[in-house]
Symmetry: C2
Subunit: 482 residues, 2 copies
């Protein structure tokens, strides 16, 4: 596809001019994804999927370190199961795909393609869980889910997407609450340290919580267009599903009790967040922790020095490849300048240039994707140098995003101020008081387009409702959101 790229690299819509077209251009031209010939579906191309594989590896390690095991539950859910939990079905029935024919026969009962798996998993837990000895059950599943969305955008909102969904069952309410909060913290830690995306976290309001949950917790990130993106959710399901699906256990005190449950998930949407948080006019800028290629080596090869330069480039690539994800771009049909653009578009965090002059000087040129900063460094101890620089890039990306997030988080007292910020070109997070009523929440949404992203855990004090002026509320995070 290189041949097309040559043209493409120049043609990304300026971010400043049209953020949403810029986003789509980057996704398509960096070959993260492509549109599929199925309504609202995308194809995740190798470069995009390699990011997802890194996300999976880094999250799965954290899940297993906290005692979780993976399993796999069926894609198709009988309608009767979906309908068991009333809030749940209300929330999901309108947006599911229905399988009505199998092979040659009309089905007696329609099947939904899972939009999420609580119902099918609960039906199994009710069989598996008998005694307090069977608890806790800590299971996660990596899979595809389908939601029949009206408007779709690659990674952010697609009919089908990939995700992980954790589903746990516990002996006590306390354990379930701890689990829900533990996994929220796993997400926060992962977003911060691997995705280099700063987040705010807290609890969702009643109107924004998961259908069927007692409480929903979330992490929220700020995109560079000033809109918020929900990056992960963790639900305390209480005993709602346990009652409906009759998941009981004989406790040590010989009494039969319902289990307490949680579920939590993140999706390929995180790839969209990476684009919108770190990307720029030249395309993607990936944090080293999740970049498919961390270092690309581009040899500068004038004919007479070609062999010597290539030999050294190969030697350095070999030295680095044990510790880093390295690619040597030794293609001859493209100029170094063209390669620079191409790898910048794809977001490779560090570029290493090596030419005849570097050969003599025993040096290489390092160029950082996110800052454009270049420095000549010695070939000696290059492994340590690259490790240090990648670490600086990872931190640099986070710091830049954190600064942006902080500069675009506004503490607001008056509704006028609220409205003017919400209607500005770069709204960002608005921290303001809320009385706790669904009425004010709905009115604010209707009048400004801003929704409550989360109620922070730590009491930010003074909570005079920015709309009705009632006192004794909470300070919460508002934003226009994806």
């Amino acid at each position: 596809m290189k041949t097309e790229q040559a043209g493409f690299v120049e043609h990304i819509t300026p971010k400043s001019e049209d953020f949403s077209r810029w986003y789509t251009d980057v996704v398509l031209k960096a070959e993260l994804a492509d549109y599929a010939p199925v309504r609202g579906c995308m194809v995740i191309r190798p470069h995009g999927f390699a990011i997802w594989e890194n996300i999976q590896r880094l999250l799965d390690g954290r899940f297993k370190a906290t005692g979780h095991k993976n399993a796999y539950f069926p894609l198709l859910i009988p309608e009767s199961l979906l309908r068991k939990e009333s809030e749940h079905v209300e929330g999901f029935a309108p947006e599911v795909a229905w399988v009505t024919r199998g092979g040659q026969e009309e089905l007696a009962e329609r099947l939904v393609v899972r939009p999420t798996s609580e119902t099918i998993i609960c039906s199994m837990y009710s069989r598996w869980i008998k005694s307090w000895r069977d608890l806790p059950v800590l299971i996660n599943q990596w899979c595809n889910v389908l939601r029949w969305e009206k408007t779709t955008r690659p990674f952010l909102r697609t009919t089908e997407f990939l995700w992980q969904e954790g589903h746990t069952a516990h002996r006590t309410a306390e354990e379930a609450e701890q689990e829900a909060l533990r996994m929220l913290d796993v997400y926060r830690d992962f977003a911060t340290n691997d995705l280099a995306i700063p987040v705010v976290w807290g609890q969702k309001t009643e109107s924004e919580k998961f259908a069927g949950a007692l409480r929903t917790y979330c992490i929220e990130a700020l995109m560079t267009d000033g809109r918020a993106l929900q990056a992960g959710t963790s639900h305390n399901l209480g005993q709602n599903f346990a009652r409906v699906f009759d998941i009981t256990f004989l406790d040590e005190d010989n009494r039969l009790k319902h289990v307490w449950q949680t579920s939590w998930g993140v999706s390929t949407r995180l790839i969209g967040a990476l684009v919108m948080v770190h990307g720029d006019e030249r395309g993607l800028a990936l944090p080293p922790a999740v970049a498919p290629i961390q270092v690309v080596i581009v040899p500068i090869m004038p004919p007479k020095d070609k062999e010597a330069v290539l030999a050294r480039a190969r030697e350095i690539a070999a030295r680095l490849s044990g510790r880093f994800r390295v690619h040597l771009d030794d293609r001859e049909e493209y100029s170094p300048g063209w390669k620079f653009n191409d790898w910048e578009l794809r977001g490779v965090p560090l570029r290493m240039e090596i030419g005849p002059r570097d050969l003599k000087a025993g040096q290489v040129m390092l160029a950082r994707r996110h800052s454009g900063e270049k420095e000549s460094v010695s070939q000696e101890g290059i492994e340590e140098t690259v490790a240090r620089v990648l670490d600086e890039i990872q931190k640099g990306l986070y710091e830049r995003a954190r600064r942006f997030r902080d500069e675009n988080t506004h503490d607001v007292d008056t509704y006028d101020e609220f409205q003017s910020i919400a209607s500005s070109a770069l709204p960002g997070f608005i921290r303001a008081g809320w009385c706790g009523s669904a009425e004010c929440e709905a009115a604010i949404k209707a009048e400004t387009g801003a929704t409550i992203r989360c109620i922070p855990f730590e009491d930010a004090g003074k909570g005079t409702c920015v709309r009705c002026g009632k006192d004794g509320g909470r300070i919460v995070y508002f934003a226009k959101a994806y």
Copy 2:
């Protein structure tokens, strides 16, 4: 679920008495899988899924080492795409699930839940591939597929299953043929060295080849009930799909040409093969390479020595855990004997017992799951000892399976002999001559239930057709198959 296990362990149907019930008992009671409340679907439980994760890791490493990248294509395929390749649609249309409703609307065009992804992937390749520079395209996808099977059995044949499907596009017929054979060899190597399952390999007959392929290659394994299981297939698709989906590239000679393609796959069916090849009356016996737990440590803890024994067991577990997948079973509510049975049922290849006497002697007792062999070994250098023993177990399982396969492979000249072996309790592989005609193939299948599993690559010489007596045919592998 432990509490139930106690009862379960005793109640596996004897393999000798009823192989098929024995298989189901092992799958359910070792908690590899469970039946789902959806027709023909199963739940892959953590112990079964952990085997799949090891299979994925070991295969994915081989795929990447041979230059392949992972991607993800949509689950749903428009009916019109499926219908483009006539043989292909004939092969799959009868056994697909149909999505006819999305959200609130009836769909204008029905969608099939992918039974395999050639059509959707080809529709993308026709967009992506423009020039010889874009070739080869070497993409693999790990995903779920659906086939509306009439009769189903956990892992062996289920409505939904997990698999990987590789889809490649090449510049020349030779490259495509090489790729199809290279991936068949990857499967053969994986089955042999990691699954410890010996296989025969070769080409499928016209009647058994993949719908739409030019040639299908396969590896076939022999289960301990004397039936064959197709364990992996690799297809040379020629230009059939390229013509239908118009996948062309401008070659260096400036002429527009159709690409040459392959596809290849293995599925969760391999877990069923592990059960049927290595399992015995006591349950599963897993090869160390894919066992979720390679070493289980069972401390023998009479009250007065409990602390001392546990302390040493923990220390040894810590020493081993860096190199092996180790589990210390320190549960107090179960007796050592009960634990032995439980871990044997689950197929853990090596059990380490440590009690007061071992403590004094500075030894531990090692018990091999597949042979029952026990030996006392020194705690000193236990890492090396365990590495050696696990290696012996891996080889031992393979050797036992190879011997069984060889002892149950019969060279047959007469049709009488063929029929008597095919109708015996333990048919196995039958190596016999075949004239190459579809008539004889069909007649043999109708009369004996045996099908041609593969035509071996190396000419096994003398090919007088075992049914029609015509000369100049090939020696092929027949078997009754799953």
